[in-house]
């Protein structure tokens, strides 16, 4: 969404505001009832920040019709700017509408010339003033450009981040982030303007997904990055029937970003940790048990029926290993890290080469992802927190070790195929 697309009253309101130090986007449209509490939390967080004299809160209140925008009571330092999110089209997904809301917040921030910005897209019921403070304070007081979130996770939470997003970001861009796609971020005005500048020309090519490019742009353009421990994050229950849609929505922008940043990541070797703020919360090991049998069955079904599709993306050796894996008894089911990493790299390459329709490609990874979850679930069934972290570190290292495989295949895609 661009500012031009805003209704006239909202544009006039922005003009009246003139400028501000800070813009904060509150984007959880599913829990509008908590928006008031969220604004109160913002007010408390801002009270702890010394160098903010004027802040604007952009609320995605999810309602239609004219926007309700008003200064919040007698406190003239905080302006609350609500806007009506345009309804998603028939093909519009929650992820797309979230991306559009991000663009809106960034556009408002750009218009007001803010020094810093923050976006809260997690469930508002878990939002605390501390949460907002930890996202903004490193930007305002310590001159960081990007504050990425670090959540407290149970053993079977954040699986897409654990299996693909985080290690892939680390191996490609050389920055160790737990959640490279947020969704909660703190940003400097400089980074916000840079991202806005990138979005404008890319919009002509169609839908732009900001979430996939915030962390990679910060890494590629040499911005200062850190992480803040935010505590536990509430997530909506898994919709297993639409898992493939979720994967397509999330991985599509990530793979596109890999294509865009190819000149940068080909020269990166290894990775570095970033400074962390706040103290990590202790994780209880009571994460419930997961029945991995249906996931293994999905993997076996995929291995049986999707050979023709995977054959267009994966090299024959990988297909052979997958077939061997599908014949293992459930108790012995373990997906080797190297195999998984190469699968992810091959899918990224297949996405670039468009060997098949990109939507087909992204959805066809679902049985493989379920296979990885099953394998991970069996491995960490009795593992403690430290063991799980060590397990994830091994996977991340495997991504880094196998990066040369991706570079080779990216440069000479036909070499590995007969």
């Amino acid at each position: 969404m661009e500012l031009d697309a805003l209704p006239q009253p909202e544009l006039e309101r922005l003009e009246q505001l003139g400028n501000a130090d800070l813009v904060i986007g509150i984007l959880d449209s599913e829990h509008t009832a908590e928006a008031g509490a969220a604004i109160a939390a913002v007010r408390q967080a801002l009270a702890q920040l010394s160098r903010v004299t004027r802040a604007v809160v952009v609320c995605n209140n999810g309602t239609q019709g004219s926007a309700d925008s008003a200064d919040s009571g007698d406190d003239r330092s905080l302006a609350v700017f609500s806007y009506s999110q345009s309804p998603a089209g028939p093909a519009g997904t929650r992820h797309q509408s979230m991306s559009s809301a991000y663009q809106h917040v960034f556009a408002v921030g750009g218009k007001l010339g803010v020094r810093a910005g923050g976006v809260i897209a997690s469930d508002l019921r878990t939002l605390t003033p501390q949460w907002i403070h930890r996202l903004l304070q490193p930007v305002i007081d310590l001159a960081f450009d990007l504050v990425a979130p670090r959540y407290t996770r149970h053993k079977m939470e954040g699986l897409l981040n654990r299996s693909i997003l985080s290690p892939l970001h680390r191996a490609l861009y050389g920055v160790q982030l737990q959640n490279p796609m947020g969704p909660d971020f703190g940003l400097s005005g400089k980074l916000l303007q840079r991202i806005l500048g990138q979005v404008a020309p890319r919009r002509r090519g169609g839908q732009v997904d900001l979430l996939g490019s915030i962390a990679s742009t910060a890494a590629a353009d040499g911005f200062q990055i850190c992480e803040s421990h935010l505590g536990a994050r509430s997530q909506p229950p898994t919709d297993w029937q639409n898992l493939s849609s979720l994967l397509a929505e999330v991985l599509g922008p990530v793979f596109l970003e890999i294509e865009r940043q190819v000149a940068f990541w080909q020269g990166i070797r290894g990775s570095k940790p970033v400074p962390q703020f706040g103290a990590p919360e202790a994780v209880s090991d009571d994460g419930g048990t997961v029945d991995v049998q249906p996931m293994i069955e999905s993997f076996q079904l995929g291995t049986r029926d999707l050979q023709d599709v995977w054959g267009l993306i994966l090299p024959p050796t990988t297909l052979l290993e997958l077939r061997k894996l599908s014949r293992l008894a459930p108790a012995q089911f373990r997906m080797p890290d190297e195999l998984w990493v190469r699968i992810v790299y091959d899918f990224a390459l297949g996405h670039r080469l468009q060997a098949i329709s990109r939507d087909h490609l992204l959805r066809s990874i679902t049985p493989l992802y379920l296979g990885w979850i099953a394998s991970f679930g069996l491995e960490v069934e009795t593992a403690g927190s430290a063991e799980r972290e060590a397990r994830m570190e091994r996977l991340c290292k495997e991504y880094e070790v196998n990066k040369s495989y991706l570079v080779s295949r990216w440069r000479w895609p036909d070499r590995f195929n007969p």
């Binding site: 939470e157 954040g158 796609m181 969704p183 997530q235 229950p237 898994t238 079904l301 468009q354």
Partner: protein, 234 residues
């Protein structure tokens, strides 16, 4: 009398030989035209093949989403298909030139009929190509979707849809070519109607179990909502 018979035989032989002799230049011209066109076809084919290989045509065709073209091509190579199609076109033109050495009227009639039929052939080819692409795309969508929904008959479903679309495309192509006429239309209507009826019966007879399974699933989902969901993806 024998003299008259001999004369008649002589005349007929002379007439026959003179007619054969009059055909000889035409036949020679036909052979020469075929030889020359074969040579030109070979040269054209070689140039086209080299040029297309130079621009990596096979990979581009795959990228453009036309894998069906590769499947129908000799040695799975669209380059060869294009080169051979051009070569045979040149040969056909050479044959028509050679034929006109016998009788220009016959050739012009043949050419005008051929050109009159060409739009139908082109339309049929386009319909077939589009049908094949759509069939493959839909079949792949159904296959991936069905596997992700854990349906064990995903391949059957996908193949069924693919052949349904292909049969529809073939029927439309034959209609364009004017082959079969009403028989094709009738056969297709019977086939398509039969499939729909079979599906309706299958759904009708099987839906009882399906609905109860679905209700069971919903009930178990509702009762399971009280438990903590242990899996999160983001």
């Amino acid at each position: 009398m024998w003299e008259q018979v001999g004369q008649a035989l002589n005349h007929s032989m002379t007439r026959m030989l003179s007619q054969l002799a009059s055909l000889l230049p035409g036949m020679a011209a036909l052979v020469v035209a075929l030889l020359v066109s074969a040579l030109v076809a070979w040269v054209v084919s070689a140039i086209v093949r080299r040029s297309l290989i130079g621009i990596d045509f096979d990979r581009r065709v795959a990228q453009w989403g036309l894998p069906a073209l590769a499947e129908w091509s000799p040695s799975n190579s669209p380059v060869r298909l294009v080169a051979r199609a051009l070569a045979w076109t040149v040969m056909l033109i050479g044959f028509l030139i050679g034929l006109s050495a016998f009788d220009a009227t016959l050739t012009s009639q043949l050419v005008s009929r051929l050109f009159g039929y060409l739009p139908n052939v082109l339309a049929a080819v386009v319909v077939l190509a589009a049908g094949s692409i759509i069939a493959r795309f839909l079949a792949r969508s159904v296959l991936i979707g069905a596997v992700n929904m854990n349906l064990h008959y995903a391949r059957l479903l996908s193949a069924g849809l693919k052949w349904l679309v292909i049969v529809l495309a073939v029927a439309m192509a034959l209609e364009h070519l004017g082959i079969g006429g009403d028989i094709i239309r009738l056969a297709f209507a019977i086939l398509f109607g039969g499939i729909v009826l079979a599906l309706a019966l299958a759904v009708g007879l099987g839906s009882k179990e399906l609905v109860s399974r679905s209700l069971d699933r919903e009930a178990s989902k509702t009762s399971g909502q009280n438990m903590r969901e242990p899996v999160g993806h983001l």
